[in-house]
Symmetry: C2
Subunit: 254 residues, 2 copies
Amino acid sequence: MRYFLELRYDGAAYCGWQRQPDQPSVQQTLEQALSTLLREEVRVTGAGRTDTGVNASYYVAHFDATEPVADPGRVVYKLNFLLPGDIAVGSMTPVGDEAHARFSACEREYRYFIEPRKNPFTRGSAWQYYVPLDMERMNEAAAALAEYSDFTSFAKLNSNNKTNICRIMHAAWTEDERGVMRFTIRADRFLRNMVRSLVGTLVDVGRGRYTPDEFRAIVESRDLARSSGGAPAQGLFLSDVRYAPEVFERTMFY
Amino acid sequence: MRYFLELRYDGAAYCGWQRQPDQPSVQQTLEQALSTLLREEVRVTGAGRTDTGVNASYYVAHFDATEPVADPGRVVYKLNFLLPGDIAVGSMTPVGDEAHARFSACEREYRYFIEPRKNPFTRGSAWQYYVPLDMERMNEAAAALAEYSDFTSFAKLNSNNKTNICRIMHAAWTEDERGVMRFTIRADRFLRNMVRSLVGTLVDVGRGRYTPDEFRAIVESRDLARSSGGAPAQGLFLSDVRYAPEVFERTMFY
């Protein structure tokens, strides 16, 4: 019997979602708690990797249980007591045998937060960056992303990607009343380190190092050496994973 | 020359505002940074104590410098680089010799946050409390507070308060779209541990242990043994300190 779990996690203490030897990962932490609760060895498959220190305000994973679970709500409740405070499970839902947290996902969304001042309360959830940024220029550059499909300029080398092709559905910056800037990007898939590298390069547009046209030239170059350094991990959140409605519909909103 | 500093701090790593032997305090941390920058021994006076682990989204302190500071904005900038990430200074303003961060303050405001679910991102800034709470009952009880002036039932023993008299200007609960409950309370002064003890007792009203009338009886009893245990420190924020406009006007909003 296959189940989808909806969860969120603060990535600060983890090497990322994916299990690594000798380093704490969200995947391994979740597998241990589930195995304890269900009294069998449970392996969990996630919607995708997240890098060291990256957060997820929304994440989906699946696992198979030998026996159907009588009361999934009860398992979620117990799971949250067993898991550390930096991982919270929102739901556990039976799905079809073909449903796959990673391969069935048709769209993912990331958000990146930049705070323009020192703030003790967003140290773990934003990049505190004090140089003024021109949002209009950053949005002009971001809007161009949907015209491209090859993101080799923002793909970490030595990654396992077979292709560097992504379909960007949306990429834009917004600013709230406190001046906190939020970059939202939706695509069918993301390459390793891609969002942080895009944010770092867009920030260089915002502070005047590149024009929006020079940003386009960087994308078109397919040369990793031309993009800027990645923005820090703590500002990045995986914020949505979407499936065809017959596969799975999101239930965890808060 | 006297200056007011506006600041905020995450209290998790500190024994509170006030200097204690062998424990890190916000006051001592600030004094060290200021003394380094101004090259003289600086003593800082705060608007009031905060308990171990309690946060301040707004705080005011004053200090005296032997010589007028040529560029206060520059000192704020350098101070923020020198201070750890959990303390941020927003402004430094010259004030009159009579202005006193503590004695001139005529009103203080605290906020307390209760989150009704496990949330990795509010572990340091809210009480995650999973029992359903009846906001209407809690507000009925909170509204009664303005009718009383003696808060002995919520005053920690062995504190230095000469009297337990406070004038409450406002006390109410609100709830945002995510279900996060916020208690806001304004008074001329607060007793040690008072807000956390009030919140703990109001939560007992909200979960049905006491009626609003029983809450009134607890206030009227002037008996510390009848109030509930204090709510956890991390959910509490000092959020405002007000002065007569001729003394000092708030400039730090975000």
